[in-house]
Point group: C2
Chain length 212, copies 2
DNA sequence: ACCTGGTTCAAACGTTCGTTTAAAACATGT
DNA sequence: ACATGTTTTAAACGAACGTTTGAACCAGGT
């Protein structure tokens, strides 16, 4: 087996276990066991446990954010040419759609989505700063675009609503398994397209609503 | 110092540290140090680390849920007498308002709110089953009430939207400190009342919207 | 003054953790 | 076949963890 194989197997195992149990509750021994690698392989290939987490996040977040950034840029450029303003739904879609599609792509990507969901829930955690380093430029641009598409809403309210949308999205990302809250009668299986539109219905309505 | 003092001080410290760093990243040594108690005090008073977590959650969640349950019951009884249906906003308010008010009550309650926010983000974690044991009856009743107040919405869609609302709320509960996402210009300070209405504006709009 | 039940204390227990080491195994170019 | 640089391996490291122990301490009742 080549080096690349071992590195990938470790990344896959780390992705799954970090997502399932969290960073601190996952030991390097359990990762290397699942990856069928030697315990020392992590420190040899990645340097430390924290660097492994960083590599795990970076591997998928970098290309994901390039897609998101590309779609958002294309949307903004199109609306600029036609001298219209982008709809809130279209702006949010550039962020949400690549994320939820990633989950159905297979090869463990759904574990990554859950891992990011967890990361967003640990404000002071190790993973947060790794995550933020990748997200900051995109988030600034997203906020800017939303501000453009919702001119009637103050920046403060806009920020809070974006905050709420992130909460919903990260919660959705985290829970790809059946929760105990959900009654047995309710089917949670949907196509990606349904998932995306169901979420956008909710999020856009919340973003656009006027004070009651 | 009496027993009660030590137990309370340990609960307060555990609440703060579990909320800030998570269950696994918090050591009993750091808890007892902050509580100015002996290391063995946790096992003497609570039996184990996990039982301490349980006691930490139970202490505040039990009375909180009694308030929520009482308000929801009062609302449902009133609408039954007047033969009207409860509004989605009123139903959600019985759940959201006691929670957000708790945060401003002081005496470390804001740490508890953040701890619950974290708990909701760890589907397989130790805290989740402790949390769910307290929540299940209330959640069933809440779901039932929302189903009543939104007759036009299928159970499946309703479930997902409740899921989104929980995501937003738990995210709000988690982040009582300033995030790095939020631009410096935006003030995040609000009164409890403003917070509640801002959240309900968002959540109710998302719950009630018709497919676009 | 003495006993008693509850509480605190310092010290140690056995485990598990992330990391390091140095030798063995492997691959590759000559 | 040999030398070279990379990867894997088993073993060990010190540190930190949750938990247990047994003696010390402190109240209140007799």
């Amino acid at each position: 087996m080549s080096q690349a194989d071992t590195k990938q197997r470790i990344l896959d195992a780390a992705e799954r276990l970090f997502a399932r149990d969290g960073y601190h509750a996952t030991s390097l021994r359990s990762i290397t066991t699942e990856a069928e690698a030697n315990l020392a392989a992590v420190n040899y290939h990645f340097g430390s446990k924290e660097s492994l987490l960083e590599a795990t996040i970076d591997r998928r977040l970098r290309p994901l954010n390039e897609v998101r950034y590309g779609q958002l840029d294309a949307l903004l450029q199109k609306t600029e040419e036609t001298e219209t303003i982008p709809s809130c739904r279209d702006v949010l879609r550039t962020f949400v759609e690549p994320t939820l599609r990633l989950r159905k792509q297979g090869s463990g990507a759904e574990n990554f989505v859950a891992l990011i969901g967890r990361t967003l829930a640990e404000p002071q955690g190790v993973a947060m700063s790794i995550f933020m380093r990748n997200m900051e430029p995109l988030l600034a641009r997203l906020f800017q675009a939303l501000n453009l598409s919702l001119p009637g809403i103050s920046r403060q309210v806009l920020f809070w609503r974006v905050h709420f949308v992130f909460g919903s999205l990260s919660h959705m990302m985290r829970c790809h398994e059946r929760h105990s809250i959900v009654p047995e009668a309710v089917s949670i299986d949907m196509s990606v397209e349904e998932e995306i539109e169901l979420f956008l219905d909710f999020a856009v309505a919340g973003m656009e609503v006027h004070r009651s």
